[in-house]
């Protein structure tokens, strides 16, 4: 007898798609042809792909079972540092899925799609207002895509001034996308070491900034969860040498309504709508990474953008623009969700969201700092970075702690990032977690810290309560099996 699918509780086994089904089934209705078959030359015809044939019920059950092996924000707390895993409101999904929106073809003439253009226009304005910057393009499809747009704007600006620059300053706490995006524009990243207090040191910038350097990329709050207090002075130094300041807005969730990025001296900034503005991450995407700039750089923004003359919304292209970043308007459906979020929150609750995000992180920091080693004991913003320093004596690593957290029903924090903190554990609770939830999480971490003392093996062998145990990543990389 073949084993049934049941494993434990409600977790079912489920084979790969092509391990099930039978030729001749179908999972989708296809209209019968009511017109004569047309001729097609044999030499153009292929055989069609070798796909399994499945019924609709089989497909639905397949993906339902897969979903049960997954953990999302709706399942539980997801304190993944620098990723802002906050609650994703359901009403936003409904509006993005409204048929008038989903059926809109992107190449319709402006007069036929005033509604979809209006959303772009209003969202451009909202994001300008929230950041303090002057103009916005919504086209980039993700944060890294927004960074690339930003670097292309840097390049266009300097070329327009008559001289291409070759280097860019980059703190060692930067996300890996920063140097990768800069490299795509031919910039050589010059690394800046973070100072003793975990923030940038003005003197180092003064020393490194020169007229070959296009500018600086700063994440603020930085990936240690600390506010770059010297940002204005740094911006002045960079501007004096003719450079520009790029703000990586990945951590915007800490500062809405509190910090004015333009006042900080930032010239170009990208936002992650899938972080700060609550759109779901979808297991990797789609996101959206709008890019915001000061007046002087507006003409370089990706095109087209949307303008409004008081009666009509229209798409405009500036001849100085860096051009298109995306086939159409970026991940439009994601924009609609963020738009709904901002309308729901307004200025009042966006600011509160940032305040509560910082409150939650500060609370977790205070409650855990006697149990896990705290990398920088300073006032934190929306996240706090710990490490496994205290656990090393028991041969328990950050990875072990992360895996054990899963057994208790939490998604682990971001681990081993930022690189400047060895064995980093970066916790970002976000504002949508309640005090009770935080207290339970804190208790669980304390319990794991105890287990690390008394039973390190337990941690090495975790997680133990999932469909699979710890997976062999070495085998996967040595003999890649990427296709079934």
């Amino acid at each position: 007898m073949k084993n049934g699918p049941g494993r434990s509780g409600l977790i079912m086994d489920e084979p790969l798609l092509w391990e099930k089904g039978k030729k001749g089934r179908n999972g989708m209705s296809i209209p019968e042809s009511d017109i004569p078959a047309a001729l097609l030359a044999d030499e153009l015809c292929g055989e069609g792909p070798d796909f399994p044939d499945l019924s609709e019920g089989e497909v639905v059950r397949h993906y339902t079972r897969l979903s049960q092996w997954n953990f999302g924000v709706d399942t539980g707390m997801y304190p993944l540092g620098s990723c802002t895993m906050k609650y994703n409101p359901k009403i936003n999904e409904k509006h993005a899925a409204a048929e008038e929106i989903t059926s809109a073809h992107p190449l319709l003439d402006d007069e036929y799609c005033q509604g979809t253009l209006r959303i772009i226009y209003e969202l451009q304005n909202f994001l300008a207002e929230i950041t303090g910057l002057d103009a916005v393009s919504l086209q980039p499809a993700a944060g890294a895509h927004g960074e690339l747009a930003g670097m292309l704007i840097f390049d266009a600006y300097h070329q327009n001034k008559g001289k291409k620059r070759s280097k860019i300053l980059m703190p060692d706490t930067a996300h890996g996308t920063n140097p990768a995006s800069a490299a795509l524009c031919g910039y050589k990243p010059v690394e800046i070491k973070s100072g003793e207090r975990g923030i940038l040191d003005v003197e180092q910038i003064r020393e490194l900034m020169d007229e070959e350097t296009a500018g600086i990329m700063i994440t603020n709050p930085n990936t240690l969860g600390l506010f770059e207090e010297n940002i204005r002075e740094i911006a002045e130094i960079v501007h004096e040498k003719g450079g520009l300041v790029y703000g990586d807005g990945a951590n915007m969730n800490a500062i809405m309504g509190i910090v004015d990025l333009k006042a900080c001296g930032v010239d170009v900034l990208h936002l992650n709508l899938h972080k700060t503005f609550s759109t779901p991450h979808g297991g990797g995407g789609p996101g959206a990474g709008p890019v915001c700039v000061v007046d002087e750089l507006q003409k370089y923004l990706p095109s087209p953008r949307v303008e409004f003359d008081g009666s009509t919304y229209s798409q405009v292209e500036d001849p100085a623009s860096i051009g298109r970043m995306h086939g159409f308007h970026g991940n439009y459906g994601v924009l609609v969700k963020a738009f709904c979020y901002i309308l729901t929150m307004g200025a009042e609750y966006l600011k509160k969201a940032s305040q509560y995000a910082v409150l939650n992180a500060s609370y977790v920091k205070v409650k855990l700092k006697d149990h896990l080693h705290l990398a920088y004991d300073r006032p934190c913003m929306h996240e706090a970075v710990f490490s496994d320093k205290n656990q090393q004596k028991n041969h328990v690593s950050t990875l072990d702690i992360a895996k054990r957290l899963m057994d208790y029903g939490y998604h682990p924090p971001t681990i081993y990032f930022p690189l400047v903190v060895p064995g980093a554990i970066m916790i970002e609770p976000t504002e949508t977690e309640s005090l009770e939830e935080l207290d339970t999480f804190i208790d669980v971490v304390k319990m794991i810290v105890k287990e690390a003392e008394t039973d390190p093996e337990l941690l090495h062998n975790s997680p133990s309560r999932f469909k699979v145990k710890r997976l062999d990543e070495t085998q996967a990389a040595r003999n890649p099996c990427l296709c079934g």
Binding site: G27, M28, Y63, Q68, G285, L343
Partner: protein
């Protein structure tokens, strides 16, 4: 506020624990000069019901409604989507998860991506497909950059002028700051790309074409492969309508080295241009040069099958400035949506649907020709084709719009000299009745 759980009492408890007296003190590290010194000028917060009203009002501003049949494609296609897909893909375990960095907690996403990679590789005829890129346009730019990485010291790429104009614009945006040259290959009178200038081009890393191309024309892929390989370059095969490969030969089979294109047709609506996904694959030997996420099969401590993100050393979070791309995500849920669509159709269904699309578009093509329009390119087409009208077509277009039919894309702004030429797209959503209406209005 329903998303924020904090009560006044909670806040006081937390302030006490932290040792601050108010929010001002919590933000003590933000200097005065960096502060947002006024209220953000945004609309007042809306209840769910007020938001519904606001959005409903915006929707009424759309003159093209869901009742319209859209006979425009050009990179975004109107296809039927079974209800099973949005219903299951809306499950929050899939939708509200992050990138699967912790594989034990994300086997659903990971197995789903592995299945997507496999079905995509089979569809495109390549050895390996990644877990998707942002869209077809950025995927083309990434493919050409990949060609340059493989070509090491080579400094030039070429692309056909019959590639989607927006896709070519994105390539130019990506290439602008760097010292690589882009050559544009013209197209012939039959609508296919002209390779005659390609012979012995020195230092050419990659040549891209799209098939079916922007005009719907099916390129001669084997001949293209031969010409491109003879010029010592890699063959990058693009597409914007993957449904074509249910009926036509796939690009890998024809000799393409890298295949990339837009996958929106597989279960995603037009949604004003996004999200969709960039499908991307290549021959096995180039796998370490691939941009983007990859999922691989492995085993767990007990020897059970499982899936992980792999070959991450190509990527930005490890290789930083030397990564194969700056991309840090994929299109996630869109990728699973495309896989679910492919699984729902199955091999048999995909072929039947592709055939139906082909037949319907041929029907309109012939009908328009009989009605007096001339078909601009003599080569075979799939789903899309270009016709030129003798008289101004705009009045006809207007009459059809009144009958809820969006007929044809004016090509004048994309190609000089294409006055009165229109690109039509016909899919399974256009009934015979609709097509007959278009034909008879043209005849009038």
């Amino acid at each position: 506020m329903r998303y924020l759980p904090h009560t006044d009492e909670d806040i006081r408890t937390m302030f006490d624990a932290i040792g601050v007296k108010d929010f001002e003190e919590l933000f003590i590290t933000v200097p005065e000069s960096c502060r947002y010194d006024k209220e953000m000028a945004l609309p007042l917060p809306k209840t769910e019901w007020a938001l519904n009203k606001y959005m409903a009002e915006i929707r009424t501003m759309m003159k093209v409604t869901p009742e319209h049949t859209v006979l425009i494609g050009a990179g975004r296609y109107q296809h039927n989507i079974p209800s099973s897909i949005p219903s299951i893909m809306g499950r929050s375990e899939l939708l509200t998860a992050y990138t699967p960095y912790q594989p034990e907690m994300a086997q659903g996403t990971l197995q789903g991506l592995f299945e997507y990679q496999t079905l995509t590789a089979r569809l495109l005829g390549v050895d390996v497909a990644n877990a998707s890129m942002y869209d077809g346009a950025s995927a083309l730019a990434e493919a050409l950059l990949m060609g340059l990485r493989i070509g090491k010291r080579k400094k030039r790429v070429a692309m056909s002028a019959a590639i989607h104009p927006h896709f070519r614009e994105v390539v130019r945006t990506y290439f602008h700051p760097i010292e690589f040259e882009i050559i544009e290959l013209p197209f012939l009178e039959d609508g296919r790309t002209d390779f005659s200038s390609l012979v012995d081009e020195n230092g050419l890393a990659a040549v891209a074409l799209q098939s079916p191309n922007f005009f719907g024309v099916v390129e001669e892929m084997e001949a293209a492969a031969e010409a491109i390989h003879q010029a010592g370059a890699l063959f990058v095969a693009g597409f914007s309508e993957p449904l074509a490969f249910g009926l036509l030969k796939n690009p890998g089979e024809a000799g393409a080295d890298i295949v990339c294109g837009e996958g929106q047709s597989f279960g995603m609506p037009e949604s004003f241009g996004g999200p969709g996904l960039g499908m991307f694959g290549c021959k096995q030997k180039y796998v370490r040069n691939l941009p983007g996420r990859l999922v691989g099969e492995t085993t767990d401590l007990d020897g059970n099958r499982g899936y992980v993100l792999t070959l991450a050393t190509r990527e930005q979070h490890i290789r930083r400035g030397k990564a194969t791309s700056n991309i840090c995500s994929n299109q996630g849920i869109c990728t699973l949506t495309a896989a679910m669509y492919m699984a729902s159709l199955g091999g048999t269904g995909l072929r039947k649907l592709a055939r139906l699309n082909y037949d319907r578009s041929e029907y309109l093509k012939q009908g328009l020709e009989e009605a007096g329009a001339s078909v601009c390119f003599s080569s075979p087409t799939f789903n899309e084709f270009v016709v030129e009208f003798k008289d101004d077509f705009r009045p006809v277009q207007k009459r059809l719009m009144e009958q809820k039919i969006v007929a044809g894309l004016d090509l004048a702004k994309y190609y000089p000299g294409f006055d009165n030429r229109y690109l039509f797209c016909v899919t399974e959503t256009a009934s015979k009745e609709i097509l007959d209406t278009v034909i008879s209005e043209v005849k009038k």
